[in-house]
């Protein structure tokens, strides 16, 4: 069966450090991988999208990598701030498909 796993349920880091979150998948061939941020009681908010033929994408302090051989995406937040504390979700979509499948999320806490 298809599985999308995010490395840990919770990650605690110190302000200023780089947070690295992992998304692994099995029995799935995504064409696109998206990362979302979700705050408690709110809907997910889009952060970055990466295509299967792209290795890396950056946006300000965020960086995403996508390795289709390892079936893994890494999501980095550099120079982390307490305001980055949230749950981060990876989501996969197959080519020309409309159902987007989410991982369970990693709850990041950045301590001052």
């Amino acid at each position: 069966s298809q599985k999308i796993e995010q490395n840990s349920e919770a990650l605690n880091i110190q302000e200023g450090k780089t947070a690295t979150l992992t998304c692994n998948y099995t029995n799935y061939s995504p064409a696109y991988l998206q990362w979302y941020r979700q705050d408690p009681g709110r809907g997910p908010v889009f952060l970055l999208l990466i295509r299967e033929n792209e290795k890396e994408k950056r946006k300000e302090r965020l960086k995403v990598t996508f390795d289709t051989t390892l079936k893994q995406s890494l999501f980095h937040i550099t120079a982390s701030q307490p305001a980055d504390s949230a749950t981060y979700l990876c989501a996969l979509v197959r080519y020309n498909n409309n159902d987007m499948r989410f991982g369970a999320g990693t709850r990041l806490t950045v301590k001052p």
């Binding site: 995504p30 064409a31 696109y32 991988l33 998206q34 979700q38 009681g41 709110r42 809907g43 997910p44 908010v45 889009f46 999208l49 295509r51 979700l89 989501a91 996969l92 979509v93 197959r94 080519y95 020309n96 498909n97 409309n98 159902d99 987007m100 499948r101 989410f102 991982g103 369970a104 999320g105």
Partner: protein, 116 residues
């Protein structure tokens, strides 16, 4: 900035009752979605809707569920006979045009459904 809106923010209902959750997607968007999130669990895809018909649905979206776009702005999710396990946050989302996952989805704030 345009946003997806959902009403009500919280709905409490008795088991076996019908509920309708309402969404107003962003006005120039063409693809619409419903997701649910049971407390403490992951966001789960329910259904996608394009050109006035369902384009995909998950195994969760059984005969108890239906979706409709009754006019040019609203998008609704109906649950015919609610069960206790339908208690969850329901999110509506929309996106513009490009096929598949090539662009972001915009999510609404959610409706918390509580079935007693």
């Amino acid at each position: 900035e345009p946003e997806v809106t959902q009403t009500p923010s919280h709905q409490v209902t008795q088991m076996g009752q019908e509920v309708i959750l309402r969404c107003v997607p962003i006005s120039n968007h063409l693809y619409f979605y419903w997701y649910r999130q049971i407390l403490g669990q992951k966001v789960e895809f329910l259904v996608s809707f394009y050109n006035n018909e369902i384009s995909e649905k998950s195994e969760i979206f059984d005969d108890q569920f239906s979706v409709e776009r009754p006019d040019g702005s609203n998008f609704t999710l109906k649950i015919r006979s609610t069960k206790l396990e339908d208690s969850a946050m329901y999110f509506c989302a929309s996106r513009r045009l490009l096929a598949g996952g090539r662009e972001e989805q915009f999510f609404g704030p959610g409706t918390r459904l509580t079935v007693l």
